[in-house]
């Protein structure tokens, strides 16, 4: 029988069988909101597609103290999930800021990550939340932390015979705080000029487990490790926030592109980190009052 150029397997094993049969020219299709743009603009020549929408990769569940999100979960399903809203609001904020309602109905978190744009908003939330990435191939599964997943613009550690299965996010404690900020030329349908996701814990007035993720200011979504180090063990106040924001900006290596200049990005991202941390500080102060 002639092999279809488009298949929609019902399970992961069949996905790998089809990858094998259809050869390297077959591309994996999730929401298609990036891939099909490239196809329509003739940037990519694609003849065969394996659709991942039917193979059960769209779960959003709590498992063993973790939040597990399937790679093919749509951004809308994440935004609408009460559980994610409760446990990982920064991921909701990030997903909500991507595209427009129709795009979010199709686009998947796995697609946002595997496309590996330096400006991927979903990646920042996952970086801030210290997510693990489960990568699967016909041979089995392996896990990598999200901060080692990206290797360059559009580049990841994924091998040609692998795909992302799901993301595992450790659930926060009641001391966990997070924040999000994104700047674009308009609110909807904008690729970030810069974006910031922050997660930290506050215990006895001091910051711990600080994670500051920066978007569109480096070749990959960036975990600002030094800036997090500046805050670790410190109280949130004007001085510590200023120092962390300054260090975060120093860690970036932005470029000039049609959306903004490197000069602007470096300055705006500093202000955004300060803004997000300032908001967390204010919530703390208000909460105690």
């Amino acid at each position: 029988m002639e092999q279809n150029d488009f298949t929609a397997p019902n399970d992961i094993v069949t996905v790998f069988n089809h990858m094998e049969q259809m050869g390297e020219s077959a591309r994996l299709l999730a929401g298609g909101t990036d891939l099909m743009v490239s196809v329509n603009l003739r940037r990519k020549s694609v003849e065969k597609l394996i659709y991942l929408g039917n193979c059960g990769l769209d779960r959003i569940e709590q498992t063993d103290g973790n939040l597990v999100i399937g790679a093919a979960a749509t951004l809308t399903s994440i935004v609408k999930s009460e559980f994610v809203n409760q446990k990982a609001p920064v991921l909701v904020d990030a997903c909500k800021s991507i595209g427009s309602p129709a795009i979010r109905n199709m686009a998947t978190l796995g697609g946002n990550i595997c496309n590996a744009s330096p400006a991927a908003d979903g990646a920042l939330a996952l970086l801030a939340l210290d997510a693990g990435v489960t990568i699967v191939s016909a041979a089995g599964e392996r896990n990598v932390p999200i901060n080692t997943f990206f290797t360059g613009p559009g580049q990841t550690v994924l091998k040609p015979n692998e795909m992302v299965k799901e993301f595992t996010i450790p659930l926060g404690t009641q001391n966990s705080r997070c924040g999000w900020s994104k700047i674009g030329q308009r609110k909807a349908e904008m690729i970030s000029i810069a974006a910031v996701a922050v997660s930290l814990q506050i215990q006895q007035g001091q910051c711990h487990k600080v994670r500051i993720a920066l978007g569109a200011v480096a070749p990959t979504p960036l975990l600002a490790v030094k800036a997090a180090g500046v805050l670790e063990g410190q109280p949130l106040n004007e001085e510590s926030i200023e120092a962390a924001a300054k260090t975060a900006a120093e860690e970036t290596s932005p470029i000039d592109d049609p959306r903004a200049s490197a000069w602007y990005r470096k300055r705006v991202v500093k202000a955004m980190v300060a803004q997000v941390l300032g908001k967390i500080q204010k919530e703390e102060t208000d909460g105690r009052a």
Partner: protein, 154 residues
């Protein structure tokens, strides 16, 4: 090649397509259903918006085969022949259309919004339509039309 079976506005169709043939190409070029327009063809402008199993999507960046076995609704299918949906009436009465190119997408985005949220605030309407670009009206009349349609239904 692949064989696509889909239901558009209540009618079943079978079409042979390429893997990357878009749903918009099938609707316009094969089925001659021309309310969804090709604007940017990159998912940005929203004038190709249709409902796929009731969900708002961009038909220009949706491979047609993703709609296999599913139901597609376009403006042609939101009211019985010869009748208007309250949204269409409201766009008519409140001058929600100017040149008209964005209107089919606006109507479908508004349809999806009102189905999920029958009494949206102005802000919710603006968010619901945030993926649909109009270069004529400045959106005021469009938002007013959606508000009027919501009031009609309630």
């Amino acid at each position: 090649m692949a064989v696509l079976n889909l239901n558009v506005n209540g009618t079943h169709h079978q079409v042979v397509v390429e893997a990357t043939t878009t749903l918009l190409e099938v609707l316009r070029d094969k089925l001659l259903i021309t309310s969804p327009k090709m604007g940017c063809n990159t998912g940005d402008c929203g004038t190709c918006s249709v409902l796929l199993n009731g969900e708002l999507i961009r038909s220009c960046i949706t491979p047609a085969m993703v709609a296999d076995g599913k139901t597609v609704t376009t403006v042609e299918g939101i009211a019985p022949p010869g009748e208007l949906d309250p949204l269409q009436e409201a766009f008519h009465e409140h001058h929600g259309a100017q040149c008209g190119f964005c209107t089919p997408g606006m109507i479908m985005a508004a349809k999806a919004l009102l189905t999920e949220n029958p009494e949206p605030t102005e802000q919710e309407i603006r968010e619901g339509l945030s993926g649909n670009l109009c270069r004529c009206t400045g959106y005021k009349k469009i938002v007013e039309s959606v508000q009027a349609a919501a009031a009609k239904k309630n």
